[in-house]
């Protein structure tokens, strides 16, 4: 991540970045002078989000600087920190991107470096987590195998996160038949894994749980996807990556809230051992599922991961993130993630957190018809409907399926299939992985889960009593 420091003045930098009201976002203007000066668009009177966007747009456009000083005397300390966040987000580039000069060091010149530093301390962890998620999402599937993903997680031990990775034997013992089936066709580099990350926090409350879909690659399996666009499926682990980034953010800012992330890691490959349409799987919950389309694998691995998160950690709330459906892209495009759930207060808090950090969501329904559509002739339920050339509300079907595995625990599901990557530069950075969800989860935890008695879910008090 871009190294950022806040100083009253600093003349040593070779280049100064200077706000210029009225210049459109993303445009830079070289200014005359002895040292190099570059103007970028910023309205100093605007709110924090606009400062972050201005910084990100400027940093995306900068392609020939390694180091710079940022003139921020005209804005308050908190705005200076948001501006810095924008530069950190906008100067991110995909790992291994060739021939790019990117900003590495930024000195923010402000009247109140102490106050700006303090504000930055609250923002930087979310930014760092977001960038970690972007790095993970950008990696190709031959580099980020399930094994490689799991071994990268071990580095989180340094920041105080306990890491536990379950292999096939442990998965079989826990009966996680859906995750095992989805991962069955993959080669030896990418066996199915369940990774569990734990952050202790400080308060005596059940943890908040994040559950992430981590398909390191998704061919569709036997129901193979068309070749066109399949390369994008290396990002089908963006939900898991967002959970990892959020855990890093919580640890970096020493969050008081206990948290656990359960990541379902697998590769949905076409192979001799692949699962088939028509197969009936026994999930960790004991429920049986008829497989209709092997390309609707995300909800299968999440069913097991959600179940494990709930029975293993009795969380006060569980939030899953997944690049689950193409339907959500048809529904909401690339500007909002789909939000589903069983708890309106939790959903409202998620929507508010998303608006605050520029990761907007929109609620979508789980209706009775969506549930009854999932009745199966042979198993407890089927996981999707056969595609028959007619429009299907598959995002709602996916959510209705997941709902069957969460019981009474307050739960929300974010379908991030439209927002995990962007084709062009966006408000938070350059084209490519966005890290969507990390900052939302970090903000949600800060606002809702860092006190013991804040919005306790039904039954939470008895859980605490039992553990005391």
């Amino acid at each position: 991540m871009l190294a950022i420091r806040f100083r009253r003045r600093g003349a040593e930098a070779a280049c100064r970045l200077e706000p210029e009201p009225g210049l459109p976002f993303g445009q830079l203007r070289e200014r005359p002078g002895a040292t190099r000066r570059i103007g970028f668009g910023l309205d100093a009177a605007a709110g924090p989000r606009a400062h972050e966007q201005a910084g990100a747009a400027a940093a995306v456009a900068l392609t020939d600087l390694r180091e710079a000083a940022l003139e921020a005397h005209g804005v308050g300390p908190s705005q200076a920190a948001w501006l810095a966040a924008g530069f950190a987000l906008g100067s991110w580039r995909p790992p291994g991107a060739p021939g790019l000069t990117r900003l590495k060091r930024l000195t923010v010149l402000t009247d109140q470096p102490g106050a700006a530093e303090a504000a930055w301390a609250g923002i930087a962890p979310g930014v760092e987590g977001c960038l970690l998620a972007r790095d993970l999402v950008s990696l190709p599937a031959n580099q980020l195998t399930t094994r490689a993903f799991a071994s990268r997680l071990e580095a989180l031990a340094e920041v105080g996160i306990a890491v536990d990775v379950w292999g096939r034997k442990r998965l079989a013992r826990a009966g996680l038949g859906a995750l095992l089936a989805v991962g069955a066709g993959a080669g030896p580099a990418s066996p199915p894994r369940l990774a569990i990350l734990r952050w202790r926090g400080r308060i005596a409350a059940p943890p908040v749980a994040f559950v992430g879909k981590g398909l390191v690659f998704d061919t569709g399996g036997v129901c193979i996807k068309p070749a066109r666009g399949m390369a994008a499926m290396r990002a089908d682990m963006a939900g898991a990556a967002a959970c990892v980034g959020a855990m890093l953010a919580l640890a970096r800012r020493q969050s008081a809230a206990p948290a656990v992330a359960v990541l379902a890691l697998a590769e949905n490959a076409t192979g001799a051992a692949s699962y088939r349409p028509g197969d009936v799987l026994r999930t960790g919950s004991g429920r049986t599922v008829e497989v209709v389309d092997t390309d609707a694998e995300g909800r299968l691995v999440l069913a097991d991961a959600l179940h494990q998160a709930i029975v293993g950690h009795a969380p006060r709330a569980v939030i899953d993130l997944a690049t689950l459906t193409g339907a959500v892209v048809t529904a909401l495009g690339h500007h909002r993630a789909g939000l589903f759930g069983n708890d309106s207060a939790l959903m409202a808090a998620i929507a508010a957190a998303g608006e605050a950090v520029g990761e907007p969501v929109w609620p979508l329904p789980i209706g009775d018809a969506h549930r009854t559509d999932l009745r199966s002739d042979i198993a407890d339920l089927r996981h999707c409907l056969p595609a028959a050339g007619r429009p299907l509300p598959d995002a709602s079907h996916g959510a209705a399926f997941l709902e069957a595995f969460v019981g009474a625990t307050p739960w929300a599901h974010l379908d991030i299939a439209g927002v995990d990557t962007q084709r062009a530069a966006h408000a938070g950075g350059p084209a490519g992985a966005t890290g969507f969800g990390v900052r939302l989860l970090d903000r949600l935890v800060a606002q809702r889960f860092e006190s013991e008695d804040h919005h306790p879910p039904p039954g939470a008090s008895s859980l605490r009593a039992a553990s005391a």
Binding site: G333, H335, L364, H370, L392, P393, A395
Partner: protein
């Protein structure tokens, strides 16, 4: 359609009985009927596992002195439960000539809703069945509703019955095949509303040209049928209010009597469904009939844009640029995104001519809304929080549910054109939202806010299976909702 009679609460001593029952034991006339059967009714209900749960049914034959007793579970007594039970009764009684519903346990309003449910379900579209035998047709001629408050129930039923007639008009229009119902014949059907006291204007191609309806004409130009714009006005507001502020409420309906897709032609599979691509217009016409039928005390304007979208030598091409009534230009990328073109001209025309209090358009606009929501909710887009929440509340109370969908600049950018003010499609992502953004560009809120809502009813206009008060087929989604909205918004 059977006759509905509200009769006093006395127990018939023979024939067919219908018992709408809440959870718990039998009371009132139902208990008397039980006594008359010597307790056989109670035993039969027990044997059938009937507990009065909502949606439960027990169909009992041969409990002397009755030929048949139909028990319907209400759960708790609500107007919604009563309406659903009425619908279920109407379907189950198709083989009987007469029946009596023992509604003495229901308040008058619930008894009226029960009759409404039965009426809504008893509708049938059999105009083109020439060989059906009398044996196969529904036989129900008279449904008596026995209630302690017969007069009050009858009074409550009268406006509901008028609304049901509006629903039937819509269902008829939506069910009509596209060789019968085209823009000209549809406009003629609208003319019949004059009998109810509605002012009806029909504008043809010449007038539309004069009004610069370039987008609507572009859609229609491939068809042998000329387009029609029908303007219906119901002036029911009390005279005293007319002097000042009370502006009319305006409904607009997409009326593509058949949508082949035009040059951007649709796949053959399922194309027959496109006869109901006029369901938005159908709902507007039905709502106007409902309001006039119950003499609503409000001023309401309904506009329907009627066109047929056909491929032909004269059809509009992808790449064409058309100039709309508002003066804005549109690059037609896909001729199958035609509904928004029709509505674009209508929205700016309606706003300019009537300065309405609010505009609500209904359209089977996108497949994307079905992918987003399925078939239980229609998509609701609006620039006005108050109007949006009123619509959602009205929909919830009549079982026509709406789900709010987002609007925003990020979506609006998707319809930028390289050559015109906008293009008519924004790609697959967020397809229902970009369609709404397109419409919003024809709602002028620059000088003063113009409350507007768009209902994308593509997923709710047609039902693939029977529902309690809606037989499989045309649902008339929107008629009851609009009627309720007017009642709450302008007649309260």
């Amino acid at each position: 359609m059977p006759d509905f009679a509200f009769v006093k609460a006395t127990l018939p001593r023979t024939g067919v009985l219908v018992l709408p029952l809440p959870e718990g034991g039998l009371g009132g006339l139902a208990a008397e009927a039980d006594a008359l059967t010597g307790g056989a009714l109670t035993r039969a209900l027990e044997a059938a596992g009937f507990k009065g749960r909502k949606g439960q049914q027990a169909n009992l034959y041969g409990l002397a002195p009755y030929s048949r007793i139909l028990a319907l579970g209400l759960g708790t007594v609500t107007e919604e439960a009563a309406e659903a039970a009425g619908g279920t009764a109407a379907a189950a009684l198709a083989t009987e000539r007469e029946a009596t519903i023992l509604a003495d346990g229901l308040p008058a309003a619930a008894a009226a809703r029960l009759a409404l449910g039965a009426k809504l379900r008893a509708w049938r579209f059999d105009r083109y069945r020439t060989t059906e035998t009398a044996e196969d047709k529904p036989k129900l001629e008279r449904l008596s509703i026995a209630t302690a408050e017969a007069t009050a129930a009858k009074q409550a039923f009268a406006p509901l019955s008028a609304v049901a007639e509006g629903v039937f008009l819509t269902r008829d229009l939506v069910s009509e095949p596209p060789n019968i119902l085209h823009p000209i014949s549809f406009a003629e059907r609208c003319r019949e509303l004059e009998k109810l006291g509605i002012e009806v204007e029909v504008l043809g191609l010449k007038e539309l040209r004069k009004l610069n309806f370039g987008a609507m004409i572009g859609v229609a130009q491939g068809s042998q049928h000329e387009p029609r714009l029908v303007v219906m006005q119901w002036k029911g507001a009390p005279k005293a209010r007319k002097g000042g502020v009370a502006k009319p409420i305006c409904f607009l309906g997409k009326g593509v009597t058949f949508d082949t897709g035009g040059i951007s032609i649709k796949p053959a599979g399922g194309m027959e469904d496109m006869k109901w691509d006029m369901a938005g217009a159908g709902a507007v016409v039905g709502a106007m009939a409902a309001l006039a039928g119950r003499r609503a005390r409000a001023d309401v304007i309904g506009l329907v844009g009627l066109v047929e979208n056909m491929p032909s030598g004269t059809a509009q091409r992808p790449g064409d640029v058309v100039t709309t009534h508002s003066g804005q230009t549109v690059e037609v990328i896909n001729t199958d995104a035609e509904g928004r073109l029709v509505l674009a001209d209508m929205l700016s025309y309606a706003q300019g001519r009537f300065s309405p209090r609010c505009m609500i358009d209904l359209a089977t606009l996108t497949g994307a809304i079905i992918v987003a929501l399925g078939h239980e909710h229609a998509g609701l887009f609006s620039n006005d929080e108050d109007l949006a929440s009123r619509l959602q509340a009205a929909g919830a109370s009549v079982g026509e549910k709406l789900w709010r969908m987002p609007l925003g600049d990020a979506y609006d950018k998707q319809i930028k054109s390289d050559i015109a003010d906008m293009k008519n499609v924004g790609g697959r992502p967020g397809g229902a939202i970009t369609a709404a953004q397109f419409l919003q560009r024809f709602v002028d809120s620059k000088v003063a806010p113009m409350p507007w809502a768009h209902l994308d009813i593509a997923g709710t206009a047609w039902s693939s299976k029977d529902q309690p008060t809606i037989p499989k087929g045309a649902t008339a989604f929107g008629v009851r909702l609009l009627d309720r909205l007017v009642a709450e918004m302008a007649e309260g």
